[in-house]
């Protein structure tokens, strides 16, 4: 096998990008199913098992649809806008640490990079620009406090600083402010004034058809996922999980079973010897646990985003502005 850094980096990039796109697709399905359950409907349940493949069906359908370029639009800008939105919302995934040092780009200024990218990714019309800039201020001043505690702009350092305690506890009010800010930043209900359905007919993306619309859709959900992960990293401890209690419980159960004469046969004893749970510091197993942890935490954040959308009525624009 040819060992070349380029091939390695290609594999790395693919192993980040493809799961990200899959996750974004499943976030859309999850949102529709969760909203449906909260409103006592069924939601998508035909395509695949329990409607799991609905997102792929939609994407394929939109890929085969006719594209429309209105005569009164700037064609270049009309096609470039969604592409730029998509690109910038996906670029943010470069700096996320999925484990200690397990990132595409271990960037010292990761938080600044995330802020810049996530704000560009959601610019829509003038209306939403005014909204975004004012809420961006809230986001960056909430992050300011976290950085004051950790003293670094690197995301990995921010997570490692939470080994003692997750910032969820000492900075709970800041988490609330940051969460509201991030809901507003990603144009979600109850702050989705840029695409208020009944009033503006989906806002700035009305005339975008086919794959151009897919770009907007993907970009929106990718930035939701990105900002959920940012929430997780800054406040809920990112990939950190304290499994020492689980190890202790498992070991004591094994000890009790051992004492209770169950394991007489030598093969089982040998298996137990191999299964010593103190060896959880195996680097592979630890990596898997870290990855699963950040996944579960950010899924919980996504669920809260959907929950907020299902619960609150939309607010008026001047209310939104005076609120900020």
């Amino acid at each position: 096998m040819i060992y070349s850094p380029t091939i390695i980096s290609i594999i790395e990039v693919l192993s980040v990008t493809i799961p990200v796109l899959l996750a974004v697709a499943f976030v859309t399905v999850a949102e529709r199913k969760t909203m449906a359950s909260m409103q006592r409907r069924l939601g998508p349940n035909i395509v695949g098992y329990y409607g799991l493949l609905q997102a792929f069906a939609d994407a394929l359908k939109l890929l085969l649809k006719e594209y429309i370029s209105p005569t009164q639009a700037n064609v270049m800008l009309f096609f470039l806008g969604p592409i730029i939105t998509l690109i910038f919302s996906l670029l943010g995934y470069a700096v996320i640490p999925y484990g200690p040092g397990l990132t595409l780009w271990d960037f010292d200024l990761g938080i600044l990079f995330m802020l810049a990218v996530s704000s560009i990714a959601t610019y829509g019309s003038l209306r939403s620009t005014a909204q975004l800039i004012s809420y961006e201020l809230i986001l960056s001043s909430a992050i300011l406090l976290v950085i004051l505690l950790t003293g670094s702009l690197s995301l990995t350092v921010n997570i490692e600083a939470q080994r003692a305690i997750w910032f969820l506890l000492p900075l709970l009010p800041v988490l609330a402010i940051f969460f509201i800010g991030s809901v507003a930043e990603t144009n979600r209900a109850p702050f989705d004034l840029a695409e208020a359905e009944s009033e503006l007919v989906s806002g700035f993306m009305t005339e975008h058809a086919a794959v151009i619309f897919v770009f907007f859709f993907l970009a929106e959900y990718a930035s939701i996922l990105l900002i959920c992960i940012l929430n997780t990293i800054l406040f809920i401890g990112g990939y950190l999980i304290d499994y020492s209690l689980a190890v202790y419980i498992a070991n004591s159960i094994l000890y009790v079973l051992n004492e209770l004469f169950i394991f007489d046969s030598p093969s089982l004893l040998w298996l137990l010897d191999r299964l010593n749970f103190n060896e959880l510091s195996y680097i592979t197993l630890e990596g898997i646990i870290y990855g699963l942890t950040i996944g579960i935490k950010s899924s919980a954040m996504v669920f809260i985003f959907i929950w907020v959308r299902a619960s609150f009525p939309r607010i008026r624009f001047d209310q939104l502005m005076s609120y900020s």
């Binding site: 429309i68 209105p70 470069a94 201020l137």
Partner: protein, 123 residues
Amino acid sequence: MTSQTFFFIFIPILAIILLALNLILAPHNPYQEKDSAFECGFHSFLGQNRSEFSISFFIFALLFLLFDLEILLVYPYIVSAYVNGIFGLIIMLLFFLVLTLGFAFELGKNALSIESRQVHYIK
């Protein structure tokens, strides 16, 4: 090529591939009604889009953009807060004092009010 370089090249390529797929696979037979601008029940006529917008949104965005930049100016202090000590703190407080004065001026000028078109019956 490092992986971040490849990532930054790969994402635009991905978007362009998707766009090209759509251009190749999809039918395309436009006519006048389809290509005209979206309008509820009317024929749209030339010059109807690119209309004027409310200037208060623009002012709002402009003012908050400045505030955003000023928050970014505080970031270097925050990162090195432990090293800078009391001197840095005093300087930053002075900076915030100037900021607050400017904000009070904006509030006094009524620059930050987007007027509601709804009538307030209940006060």
